[in-house]
Amino acid sequence: MTGKDITLLLQDWQKGDEAALEDLMAAVYSELHRISKNYISRERSGHTLGPTGLVNEAYFRLIDHNRITWQNRAHFFGVAAQVMRRILINYARERNTAKRGGGVMVLSLDNVTDAAEEEGIDLEALEEALNALGEVDQRKARIVEMKFFAGMNEKEISEALSVSSATIRREWRTARAWLFRFLKEGSDGS
């Protein structure tokens, strides 16, 4: 898929074409995969490519920079956040089921999963909670995704979702409390 296509898809998605999102994610995902494979085959120094470097490289490869506006950039990272969430949950699941080595993304996600553990976050449980949240309020789930799985700030998220920064801040706060309760109840129950 060329930069032009991706940029078109981003614009479609921006205009509200939800079907474009699936195509976008597929494109981003395969580009990430390709880059990381290339990276592994080139790299000798043992230096690992983190998700940030990876996604940013994908960004520069995938986007038609002649046509993109900064709003598209925020959108792109919004998509990347979803992709990272998927990659990460797959990775965490594989790790938990001790099927390591066959992971799709050969990059240093251990740091990330370790960081989650240190913060006391069970990624699989969070995934379940996020799915539940998404059913009630799709936008809140997206905000969490962008903030937590991509480190986007309020301004960037507001650009990606075309709502005010204040709304982002408020909805994030509710979403976080909501998720916290969901996780707490889950662990209490089990």
């Binding site: 078109l8 230096h47 956040a81 913060e119 937590f148 480190g151 986007m152 916290f180 309760r181």
Partner: protein, 939 residues
């Protein structure tokens, strides 16, 4: 929980959080208005929030895609971050404490975005030695570079506690003189770096910090050389990094590009062209000076954060900023501006006008060859200004201005209209002055040369719009009409000093321009006048008279006045051969027209041979790559195609591509045009896949060379859509056309023909997708618009009408389709021609419509008419002829005329047996139809 309720919870929960703790309880009770479960939910979430907050639940992102992820207290090697200083698109800048080998405060810049770590570091290692030697009081020192644990490159620089240049000047109300002195210091610093081969690439006020030393301002240029080392070699990298302002410390991501507009040189705003050198920095310095003088960035007013990058780039490449003295004249805040420079507005304007205008504009030249060749030269000019000596920067001469206008017109067709007006009117003035001078016999030789030169420019300039390449430019035409009207009224005759020769020259040029715009009638009238004048003044056999006659003959050809053309050609040719010789350029032009006329007369072999002859002589006398030689090759290619010698034809087209690539470079616009001809050839011969690949490549090049919004680029993109439709990929075509349309709206002048052309093709694609209502609406709109602009009988208007009739047919609105088809058919015959495919197709559609309506009698009559046209204007093996005969046979069978039906079907089979391969499906189908009818009992 349903979404509605979620919103309610959302609001109350957040409002509660914003309410002071002591009032919160009362607020919740009131807000929930007795809804107990709502109240419980809010309270529970508040409790959860409290707990989450205490545990810092999810406060830190586990992946940071857009941020460096660094903050206060973090250590990077021997540097500890104290606080963030600023953020730009490429990186974050921190104040940091260096602990080893000695303690000092440094600015630490971490690159965060899309940079290939290894590449940046490798480059930086190369650069670092040079940068470390960059030791100048006005340049912030670069100390060190490395990579963070996460692999992000970082740079360590001298920490400057300064104020950005523009802020410093304004806060301290620096006078013009003080500003210029400070600017000269900056130039000295830049000169120092340039001498060591280091280009900044991103000079702008935000990258120049001013501190104070002993009460005097001390500028410090930051980020020197950093842009270079972060610029990769790969095209993807280059397109991004060559314009991204790496040093932007105080800009948000949204303001990023906008922040650099006006400081970035035109060559940096060029995709893929990496010919940035020290003079690119000179441009940026010119822009900084501009802002110091006027308070505005050059071109700054033309963009905003929503402007797409390609548009910003186009502006940088094509738009000239106003001179500083003019800029402040138009500024509503001019009084204030002058006051902040300690000046009266009137006085400030006077100070800027002249030397300072010229110095600034010389640095801001689009062509870097015309800028100062060194920062020191610019500094020296400012010092000359201080000393009241003449500066080297000069106001541009008239001839320079004209050539510049000419170039710009060629590069930027869309913006050229006003330029043309200025030029046309300006030239007449210039010519007049020169003519008078000649008549007065003052400096006769030099002035005469000037007249010729000016005339040449006028010729070249006005002849340049070529509709086959650029699409028709309506406003240009209107302008020409206005000008011609003046000419007719004699207004310009007076201005031309009543010199009939000059008048004839202008008429000739105008005629040529009209010809190129396809306005052949007007072209003929004008050149006829020029011819009459020249016959009278110069005589029948003067070369200029013959040139006009030859020109008129070629216009007759286009007007289909073939006999007139023939008569004129014969006379003119004889005289030209006698006066100029057979190998003269003008004679060859006439021969070329003659060859075209022969082609029209269907004397194919003679036409081919004459074209070959002209080609041969042109090749010898003008050289193999001369435009007229290439024109001959093109004409030959057409002749070969007519003779169905496709291989020869294609070989020539390829050769043209090769020659142009060799002579002009593979990316020259004329080379790209010949590639486009090749694409068209592939398309016409049904090799869509090859055509598409070649077209896509050409599109990329045109975007690179001409920019994405150039009419020629649009036409190439349009071709992509045509090919996609031909390859039955209408969905992609629709996406493409919709995008094209959006861009055309902003990029092209309102009412531009390309917009309608694009929409016509979009309608076609939509039709294929069954999106009929949309297609219909589009066609109605463009049909109406084109009719208003060009007249209801303009060939393109009729094309849109024919498509509209077809669209109605597709929607089963048969009666509407029929009345439309009947309405346009006679007009097509008259204005497009009875021998044209468009007329054929409109007629075919009309036949289908009658048949669908059950009106077989009318269908038969129109079918017979179409067969007559095919027989008259096409060869016996024309595929539509056989198909038409088969169709007529079927129609007649339905009408009960079995004998006639059998005759036509047999005729069709016979034709197809000759034209098609045995076993062809088409042929088999015709045979089957015949067999079926033969098998039916004769009643």
């Amino acid at each position: 929980m349903d979404p509605e309720r979620m919103r309610l919870v959302d609001d109350i929960f957040n409002d509660a959080l914003d309410t002071p703790a002591e009032e919160r309880d009362a607020f919740i009770v009131k807000a929930c208005a007795g809804d107990a479960s709502l109240e419980a939910e809010v309270r529970e979430l508040l409790a959860m929030d409290d707990e989450a907050e205490k545990k810092s639940f999810m406060n830190k992102a586990i992946i940071n895609l857009t941020q460096t992820g660094l903050g206060e207290g973090d250590e990077i090697g021997s540097y500890q971050i104290i606080k963030p200083l600023g953020e730009g698109g490429m990186g974050q800048v921190f104040l940091a404490q260096q602990t080893e080998p000695f303690q000092r405060r440094v600015a630490l810049k971490v690159i965060k975005l899309g940079m290939d770590t290894r590449q940046v570091l490798n480059r930086f290692k190369v650069e670092q030695a040079t940068l470390a030697r960059l030791n100048h009081p006005y340049i912030a020192q670069v100390y060190d570079a490395g990579a963070t644990e996460r692999g992000q490159p970082f740079f360590v620089m001298e920490y400057i506690q300064g104020v950005p240049l523009a802020d410093y000047c304004d806060h301290n109300r620096l006078t013009l003189q003080q500003r210029l002195e400070l600017f000269v210091q900056i130039l000295d610093g830049v000169q120092y770096a340039h001498q060591r081969g280091i280009i900044h690439r991103d000079l702008k006020p935000a990258n120049i910090l001013v501190t104070t030393k002993e009460d005097k301002p001390l500028p410090k240029i930051i980020d020197f050389g950093i842009a270079k080392s972060t610029t990769g070699d790969e095209p993807t990298q280059r397109t991004v990094t060559s314009f991204l302002p790496q040093g932007s410390m105080n800009l948000t991501s949204t303001g990023l590009v906008v922040g650099s507009v006006g400081y970035m040189s035109p060559e940096q705003a060029c995709m893929g062209a990496d010919d940035v050198d020290t003079r690119s920095d000179i441009y940026s310095l010119g822009a900084i000076l501009y802002e110091l003088l006027t308070g505005e960035r050059p071109l700054g007013g033309m963009v905003d954060p929503q402007t797409p990058w390609d548009e910003i780039f186009r502006i940088i490449r094509e738009k000239d900023p106003r001179r500083p003295s003019t800029q402040i004249t138009g500024d509503p805040k001019a009084q204030e501006l002058a006051a902040s420079r300690g000046e009266q507005l009137k006085h400030l304007r006077k100070q800027l006008r002249g030397d300072l205008d010229w110095i600034t504009m010389k640095a801001l030249e689009k062509d870097k060859e015309r800028r100062y060749d060194a920062a020191s030269a610019m500094a020296e000019d400012i010092r000359r200004y201080f000393r009241n000596e003449p500066v080297t920067a000069k106001p541009p001469s008239l001839s320079y201005l004209l050539s510049k206008l000419f170039q710009r017109h060629k590069a930027a067709f869309a913006g050229g209209v006003l330029v043309i007006l200025a030029l046309v009117l300006g030239i007449v003035g210039a010519t007049t002055g020169a003519v008078r001078a000649r008549k007065a016999q003052l400096k006769a030789e030099a002035e005469a040369a000037k007249v010729l030169q000016t005339q040449d420019i006028l010729d070249a300039f006005l002849s340049s719009p070529d509709p086959t390449q650029m699409g028709r430019e309506v406003t240009m035409l209107e302008l020409l009409d206005a000008f011609t009207e003046k000419l007719e009224k004699g207004e310009l005759e007076a201005a031309a000093g009543a010199d009939p020769e000059v008048l004839a020259g202008v008429q000739f040029t105008l005629s040529d321009t009209y010809k190129n715009l396809g306005e052949h009638q007007k072209a003929a009238e004008l050149v006829q006048k020029a011819l009459d004048i020249r016959r009278e003044v110069l005589g029948e056999d003067h070369p200029d008279t013959l040139k006009a006659a030859s020109h008129l003959a070629s216009i007759y050809y286009y007007l289909s006045r073939t006999a007139d053309a023939e008569a004129l050609i014969d006379r003119t040719l004889a005289a030209q051969i006698a006066v100029l010789g057979e190998r003269h350029r003008e004679t060859l032009r006439t021969l070329n027209v003659k060859a075209m006329v022969l082609g029209r007369r269907n004397r194919k072999q003679e036409s081919l041979e004459l074209h070959q002859k002209v080609y041969r002589i042109r090749k010898q006398t003008l050289g193999p790559t001369h435009p007229e030689t290439l024109q001959s090759m093109n004409n030959l290619a057409v002749r070969y195609k007519v003779l169905e010698k496709m291989e020869e034809s294609e070989a020539l087209l390829r050769e043209i591509v090769r020659l142009r690539a060799q002579e002009l470079g593979p990316k020259h616009k004329d080379t790209l045009q010949s590639v486009q001809n090749m694409v068209n050839q592939l398309y016409r011969t049904g090799r869509y896949k090859q055509a598409l690949a070649m077209n896509q490549e050409n599109l990329a090049r045109r975007i690179e060379v001409l920019g994405p919004n150039h009419p020629e680029t649009f036409l190439t993109a349009d071709m992509e859509g045509i090919l996609l439709i031909a390859m039955n990929r209408p969905k992609e075509a629709v996406a493409l056309y919709q995008d094209l349309y959006q861009r055309a709206l902003t990029a092209l002048p309102a009412g531009h023909a390309i917009v309608r052309q694009t929409n016509n093709n979009l309608a076609n694609a939509l039709n294929k997708l069954g999106r009929n209502e949309e297609a219909l609406k589009l066609l109605q709109d463009i049909h109406e618009a084109h009719g208003k602009l060009e007249g209801v009988n303009h060939p393109t208007t009729l094309l849109y009408a024919a498509n509209l009739a077809y669209q109605l047919y597709s929607m089963d609105r048969i009666q509407a389709s029929i009345s439309m088809g009947e309405d346009i058919l006679p007009r097509l015959m008259e204005h497009v021609g009875p021998n044209k495919v468009l007329t054929f197709n409109a007629l075919e559609n009309l036949i289908l419509a009658y048949e669908k309506a059950g009106d077989l009698v009318r269908a038969e009559a129109r079918r017979r008419q179409s067969l007559d046209l095919y027989r008259e204007h096409r060869k016996p093996n024309y595929p539509k002829l056989a198909r038409g005969e088969k169709h007529l046979g079927l129609l007649l069978a339905k009408l009960g005329n079995r004998e006639a039906a059998l005759a036509y079907l047999r005729q069709a089979v016979a034709r197809q047996e000759k034209a098609l391969k045995p076993g062809s499906k088409l042929l088999e189908a015709t045979r089957a139809a015949l067999a079926e009818l033969e098998g039916e009992p004769n009643d």
